[in-house]
Symmetry: D2
Amino acid sequence: MTVGDVTTEGPQTVPGRSAGAAVEKYLHVRRLTDLLASRLSAEDQVPQSMTAASPAAWHRAHTTWFFEEFVLGRLPGYSSPEPVFRFLFNSYYEAVGPRQPRPQRGLITRPSVAEIGDFRARVDDAVVAALEAGRVDDRGLELLELGRHHEQQHQELMLMDAKHLFSHNPTDPVYVHRSADPVAAAPGETDWLVVVEGVAQVGALDPADGFSYDNERPRHRVWIPDGQVATRQVTVADWKEFMADGGYARPELWLSDGWAAVQDEGWDAPGYWRREDGVGVSASAGTAGAPAADGEWTTFTLSGRRPVVDAEPVCHVSFYEADAYARWAGARLPTEFEWEVATAGWEIRDELDPDRCHPQPATDRTIGGVWEWTASAYLPYPGFVTEEGAAGEYNGKFMSDQHVLRGGSALTPAGHTRPTYRNFFPASSRWAATGLRLAR
Amino acid sequence: MTVGDVTTEGPQTVPGRSAGAAVEKYLHVRRLTDLLASRLSAEDQVPQSMTAASPAAWHRAHTTWFFEEFVLGRLPGYSSPEPVFRFLFNSYYEAVGPRQPRPQRGLITRPSVAEIGDFRARVDDAVVAALEAGRVDDRGLELLELGRHHEQQHQELMLMDAKHLFSHNPTDPVYVHRSADPVAAAPGETDWLVVVEGVAQVGALDPADGFSYDNERPRHRVWIPDGQVATRQVTVADWKEFMADGGYARPELWLSDGWAAVQDEGWDAPGYWRREDGVGVSASAGTAGAPAADGEWTTFTLSGRRPVVDAEPVCHVSFYEADAYARWAGARLPTEFEWEVATAGWEIRDELDPDRCHPQPATDRTIGGVWEWTASAYLPYPGFVTEEGAAGEYNGKFMSDQHVLRGGSALTPAGHTRPTYRNFFPASSRWAATGLRLAR
Amino acid sequence: MTVGDVTTEGPQTVPGRSAGAAVEKYLHVRRLTDLLASRLSAEDQVPQSMTAASPAAWHRAHTTWFFEEFVLGRLPGYSSPEPVFRFLFNSYYEAVGPRQPRPQRGLITRPSVAEIGDFRARVDDAVVAALEAGRVDDRGLELLELGRHHEQQHQELMLMDAKHLFSHNPTDPVYVHRSADPVAAAPGETDWLVVVEGVAQVGALDPADGFSYDNERPRHRVWIPDGQVATRQVTVADWKEFMADGGYARPELWLSDGWAAVQDEGWDAPGYWRREDGVGVSASAGTAGAPAADGEWTTFTLSGRRPVVDAEPVCHVSFYEADAYARWAGARLPTEFEWEVATAGWEIRDELDPDRCHPQPATDRTIGGVWEWTASAYLPYPGFVTEEGAAGEYNGKFMSDQHVLRGGSALTPAGHTRPTYRNFFPASSRWAATGLRLAR
Amino acid sequence: MTVGDVTTEGPQTVPGRSAGAAVEKYLHVRRLTDLLASRLSAEDQVPQSMTAASPAAWHRAHTTWFFEEFVLGRLPGYSSPEPVFRFLFNSYYEAVGPRQPRPQRGLITRPSVAEIGDFRARVDDAVVAALEAGRVDDRGLELLELGRHHEQQHQELMLMDAKHLFSHNPTDPVYVHRSADPVAAAPGETDWLVVVEGVAQVGALDPADGFSYDNERPRHRVWIPDGQVATRQVTVADWKEFMADGGYARPELWLSDGWAAVQDEGWDAPGYWRREDGVGVSASAGTAGAPAADGEWTTFTLSGRRPVVDAEPVCHVSFYEADAYARWAGARLPTEFEWEVATAGWEIRDELDPDRCHPQPATDRTIGGVWEWTASAYLPYPGFVTEEGAAGEYNGKFMSDQHVLRGGSALTPAGHTRPTYRNFFPASSRWAATGLRLAR
């Protein structure tokens, strides 16, 4: 973080260079949101396809509210010209006050999508002006940085949620056109990286050394047992073997709650997969990929419905499926700490390319493409301290009954993936871009 | 049916005058839908605020699908250029094929609202061309007339559903601006019309004598017992007395399922009513009505939130509430046949005024303003015959566990109200414009 | 009611003889409950197999509470030695006070089954003593009679509920042993009784002319249209034809809510039917009937699981199924008034035989064996007046969203069936002994 | 484990002394179940008060089935004379076959409670005979020991479930009579045991060194950070302070899912607590404790309803409540490994006394009385291996979305508590005897 540097007398006093950098970083994130949203019509931005998802318009407004509430709200004398937005676009911050019930986010058609654009522009102008005037104090700058990362998270959520929404439309809407991928051979067996037992340091350093969320800190020691971690993620080709071996029909492979989910939800393949029977209601005219043959598996992508690709990492599997696959393979999922130690120094490949929005084929000793379920429950690190004020509600309040995912996905904005990052979802979630890597 | 006039030899052969009239009547209905929808933004037209409601865009497309499926579909060689619309915009016609699941109507963002406008224009052009070319046969003309009435029903539904949607928005959106009503004195006690026992004819005559739905036929005899029917609907002033007398807290006044609904839903006033406490999240800036004082009851209208008006008929009450009110008043609800006999010849007041969309004060010996719950369950008339083909699914399949309402409301398009009309809703419904009239 | 009055010459003036008759009638009903319960173990009497059902112990206690509350409670100075029973064994009488939540009736293990027997004996002693001492006033005698009929209703409920409970036990418990029926030929086509249109009197006379429930009164006029009513109930053989013709798979035959029930509940045959596949978990060792062959349909009876019998009336079908069957047969269900007019004078066959508890084969121009769904919704008769006090809650509060059944069943105690009797259940109920008769 | 000792030639060959000891240990456990069940009537043993609970009769039969399935089933030529019991009394072992649906365990009234007693006796006779004849092989003896510990778990469950059942009965049933406790002063502030960071060994040794469940193994190294663990459990007096300080009304203290539970369930005190208002429906005549004054908190115990006792450890709190309390207290919950290290060598006090069945006042440096929620999710230890066969389903399949509890409770049979024991429940559970201890 450049602002608050010891060589300056105080963040507010030298707006010049550092303000310019802060402005640039701020606007960089804001513009990507606008770019991603620009492919969604006003209609596309309204619905909430399930309670866990949110409308795109809401994502755009909520991320803006975050800056207004936590950055502009700190400025002396600031008050919002649209106070009802505090009610509409607060997500879950109890300390800020009551809010639109979560399951009713899809009923907000006013302000319009254009008015939400105005809201974004108004807040951007005010933030930039405040930065340039040197009126944002140290804590404000910290919250500004938190807000940037927060908005990056919502960029991924906005894409996930749009995909979920479109998947319910029999016309198979296309978010982004792209040509068919070249045929890639399915990779062979994975290699294994040996992890030697011992005490390791995990977690993020102090924020002064680079941004991290509260849930990545403090850096602390853990004991890592002997083990091996696969150098490559599990692929579509791998998953087809699991399916062919009755993976979805053998209770002995599943956790108790997982087996219940298989039966209740009728799972027989990853999320968005469908076995074509030649009598579908639509022909996905907008899809550039090769058409699927009868009996072939397709998957719904942000470029329409396409045949599944063997070389890609499997995606849209729940923790339960990842765990069952690992058991079937005679292996297990790595813990989040094994993962962090094993992948140290690996390349981060396959972050968000707005013209693709879909994983590349899996490669060795890389992370990215799909989030990776770990064996670890989402819990606070030893010495975890909740931040004061509403921002303290950021991550800590979800530390129960969620599972840690590590890495990043093809929907994760560039620069957002880091080795200590802890993503988390409930065990039955399938709409995030989630895959896995084995350990043993 | 006026088209196919006896002086012509056959509907198809003299397109001239009768086609012109048919075209005019068709376009009259279609234009009103467009007018009503024009006050809803693209965003407003997408959400489905509950399973029983539908998006405005869907109403616009579904009514168009009806004409394409049942009128254009009869033309030799006709096939839809957008076959997926058969899936998307079929409501419940099993005979036509599978369809978008009802709870997922709010997830259809493509086709866009503009494309649905194009769909409407394309079908209108084709219908008009077919009429003018004399290509619509007798059955087609019958179905055309059915389609017009069907679209009128959906005009009311579209307004009801928009109101329901807007009621979840803390900004209290305004569908139509209107000035505050002049203060009207609450009317005094109602008069009672005496009904003398005897055999009466009820129901609609043969369609050749004027349009009616299948569920209004055949005309048949019933025995009407001695009784009295109130000449005026129950008003807001009346309802306040019921509330003041503990009406919502006295189980002895309620049917068993009604009392369960009171407790489960927390009912303590009609739908959309709210007692103001001065700390609401929003101030309904767009509302032209007088502001509400603390402790005063307001109601949500299509012109925003407004104080309730004593002289108006009470609206948005369920059958259970209507029944409990009647018991409290020492009276009962009329049966649908008593109602039909008693109101014969009364003026139909207060049909849809697109610049008002809200009931006028109640007046004597009139119907309209609010639908009136009757004591009658929705059942087929003796000799009821299901029509052949998909159109036979129109009304008959809902004849279980619904209650008959008679009359019409301030959201019912002009010309749609008639003495034999049978509307129907489940006993717990409150989002339609439903009130009541007493009998004893 | 005349009984019990000292000043008249009627039965009420000489407590000796008339009291003896009242005592005898009272004890007759009470003893049958004891007999029916004697075949249920203490364990059998505790569970509540679904919210709509009740434990046998609860039926025994609730019917006793009714006499204590409404008959003994009227005696000067009477107070219950077990006041908590008012809470435990009140069913739904709001006027009496709060009560054990209905879904938790199966959690009452104390008082024990033996203590409930003691409760019954104590109340019986007190009622008999009061009768013999001439201390029961006119209203008390009316309520005593109401209580007897109330207890008869609960006798049927207790058997229905026991059957429902046992049906969840893979050991196929036997309530009563009986030998296999002789083979009866399936009857041929039914005859039809012609009903000529006109005004008819329906409903029960004044109670002074014989007991009736409030919901059967007042006797009133209705217009009956021309029609025909089948002289015989629909049989198992008939139903098999419906099934063979795809009756459960053709949406056009079903009401909208009925088709939803078929899909949600997976109905493909009447309640308790099962197609044998030879790999059942149990062999119903206690069942005296002939064993079922593979692929054959069996049904669960109070004598264990048995092959279905063609000649019997079909039983355990919902209103929705009855309605769909009628549509398939090109007929309809009779209204309750057609039924009452058409069956006048027919023999009541097949009331409860405690050693059989199962319908006999259907015969012509009889009623009984199975309750018959009618086309009529359960609504109050014109002039219906709710009785004063808690007893007024008896029937009237359920007059919404239920359907009228007429006749009686093989579980209905002798003497309880009468031409004006109105039974009622929700349209989806299948655990009562419900069948149908056609009209057209 | 004495049987299977290396110095003997084989377990089956020297039935004499070691068989006698095995028989004695087996019968010791079995007799305690019989004793505990002897206070429950046949009626008490039937209901299932919620899906998570089971009927007492089912516990008695299921523990017996375990021995028949896994011990007797290994004997050459053994087959059960009651094969349907495999279906009825299998809990969740997919490998054994289909089973009675869990929510329908409370519908099994046949076999009777007496017949379940016969089943127990028959299996006991067969097990004893097999042991005495030296026919139980090494694996059988292991499974016999597993079955003993399994039955001890079910002893605690049977008491928990009986308490839950009785709590729904307004007569406040008494499971065991006991006199009022002497008044104990609430203890003052707790002391804190300092834990110094470093690598520690946790988990159970090889089974040959004493029984442990699969989920306690393998013993492995973990890194323990610096910290402090309270020497005493949180008491009722402590909890009252939390309540008085608005603990149940301050969202900032709660995890997100916890706050949702507070609102959905209406929690404002620990499970079974009730604030007396002097108008309860019953007077708990059978309760020996002092009567509660108006406004005072009482709790439901296995000796009836009693005033809460300040000196006792708080009990029947969920993980969410424990976590919120810790946050309120400026502390946290210990991890399961901190707990294991900190409590090493502490006295196990307050195991099951069948004449008390209720915690004793909390004391320093002891465990027992109440299970203690830890911060740890229930996950497999590094190197965890599922046992082969159906017994491998014992613990591993539940390792998701449950939280670890350590210690033991006043309902845990003597000898069942051990330092490495891992109990587990979902975060919202309150019917187990669950409390907490702080760390910081």
